[in-house]
Assembly symmetry: C2
Homo-oligomer: 334 residues x 2
């Protein structure tokens, strides 16, 4: 693993995006979002995603100059058309709109159709929390697992993000509805390791920890079995019905053809009700309640969602971003 | 199981609540919510809960005449004080307020502190969907499972409800963050049956399907292991921080002393953006996509969340409500 300074990673990506037709502002923002994701330790959705992002620009699914256009508005809610623009720029724009609406109305709800993969969902949770707000957002995805009781992929892993602001470090959850991502299944399989818990079904329809047999059967497991299957269905329905956009079953099974997603963004300006200092104290006490609860493993402690992020961020700024040399060569060739 | 007409169940409960000091209106509403829960087939949270509800009135945790009072408001968001009133009446009130706010602003967000167990969470999802809106709500609970990596109960199972309206039957998800409720673990244990999937840890800290050993260890499993643990933490944080109310770790481990919960309610009036007919069509297509996807068991079909409710409701209206005779005798003695 080589280490490359944040600014060099960011400027390299921005220069590539400029060549692909992004305006300067949008190239800068898009490159920053990719670099920040790697900086925060979410490697699977940072630089590692950049080649696939470029591939979806090349195949026409991501339109570099498309910006969201307003489809309808009423009070604190707005519906936007994503026009197949870059998913991370569209999502950043939507959470920014939700924050703006929340400043006016206490809450903002923005729904967007025809957008693209937002890369790291947690980004938009941090965005809201950095603005002192609670952020909630989710996206639908292509069908990548069977619904509970089914055998063929027909529901998405539909990542869900919830974030609350906290001075010492926001509490941010960014979770897909599948127990393991395909990337994780592939890593375990390559290393010849078993999953720590059941991750899907084998060809005989039995629950298994063997990643290879799950990849072969294409039957990944929703979190909580029937529960995650139900939650995935509702997240998809809310996103598609409010945006009047595409639902999971209408999306291609091919990740390179996954285009036109539906997403929703909430920002809650709870500080407008007063009591922000008390809310901060409550967040602090919740974190302490987890830290002081006895851990199963000695010398370990229960962590809150997002706990590692600030430490990883500081380390990756100090040491520079860890980048796979082969990946970096590939990126430099774009 | 004896069958008792809905109206007789409702009027019997209402008469009891009148004797316990409810006003006529509130006794009627509260009794109706209990009877409707049994009518809809959610037996664990209907009549079966009534004795515990009466016990919490008797021990002073539920104040029969307490109504919510407004603590703060800003645009489309409101903070209420529950004043330890009956949880189902308070929750019904809050979703009604959220719907009212959504009519004005497109979305309404209501947060309430110092309320009580809302009984069946799905009730408030149906309430929003019956008003043509998307409903989302959740509650925190007493600590009833360890966080991921911990050994003692320190997070709640914090039921989460999402509902979207649909003419042929709303899609309504009502799910707790534990893989199995304590009631379910007790039923499996009584019948000497194994759980269909892992439901917690035994005393040795191993995942197990044996309900008795989970009840003994008090280590129930969050859905999706670390994922449900994280989601429970965020739901608790949002509810407590926005309401300035009590967080899970401050609640008693004793269900009879579980008082002063924090809850949030969202209603989204998406029809205000236009396109309601198109949204209905999208809901219909999502349901069909599940129904036409091949099922693992022959002669079976994938179901959407809430699918059985209307059928069960119709049957329980036609045949009258199924009630355990011993439970009914107990209720008549109140």
């Amino acid at each position: 693993m080589q280490r490359i300074p944040f600014s060099e990673v960011q400027s390299t990506l921005a220069a590539i995006l400029l060549r692909y037709g992004f305006t300067m502002d949008r190239a800068q923002r898009c490159a920053t979002l990719f670099a920040e994701t790697t900086r925060d330790g979410v490697y699977s959705h940072g630089l590692q995603r950049f080649p696939r992002f470029i591939a979806t620009i090349r195949n026409g699914n991501v339109r570099v100059d498309a910006e969201p256009s307003l489809a309808a508005r009423f009070g604190a809610i707005e519906r936007w058309q994503g026009n197949r623009g870059p998913g991370n720029l569209n999502a950043w724009f939507c959470m920014d709109r939700a924050i703006h609406l929340a400043h006016q109305h206490g809450i903002g709800f923005v729904t967007i159709a025809d957008t693209n993969h937002w890369m790291r969902g947690g980004t938009y949770g941090w965005q809201a929390a950095d603005a002192g707000m609670i952020g909630i957002c989710w996206t639908n995805t292509l069908p990548n697992m069977p619904a509970w009781g089914g055998v063929l992929p027909c529901i998405g892993n539909n990542p869900l993000v919830l974030a609350v602001p906290r001075t010492a470090g926001h509490i941010v959850l960014d979770m897909a509805m599948s127990q393991f991502s395909f990337g994780a299944l592939e890593s375990y399989s390559r290393r010849g390791e078993s999953l720590p818990v059941d991750g899907g079904f084998n060809a005989a329809g039995e629950l298994t920890r063997d990643p290879a047999s799950i990849l072969a059967s294409n039957r990944a497991l929703p979190i909580g079995y029937w529960k995650g299957s139900g939650l995935s269905t509702l997240l998809n329905a809310v996103a598609a019905m409010t945006s009047l956009g595409i639902a999971t079953h209408q999306l291609s099974f091919d990740p390179l053809q996954e285009a036109g997603l539906s997403q929703v963004f909430f920002a809650i300006h709870f500080a407008a009700l007063g009591g922000a200092a008390q809310a901060e104290q409550i967040a602090e006490e919740i974190v302490h309640s987890l830290h002081r609860s006895p851990a199963a493993e000695p010398d370990s402690a229960i962590r809150y969602p997002g706990e590692k992020t600030l430490r990883t961020r500081a380390e990756n700024i100090r040491l520079s971003l860890p980048v796979d040399p082969a990946l970096w060569q590939q990126i430099l060739s774009f």
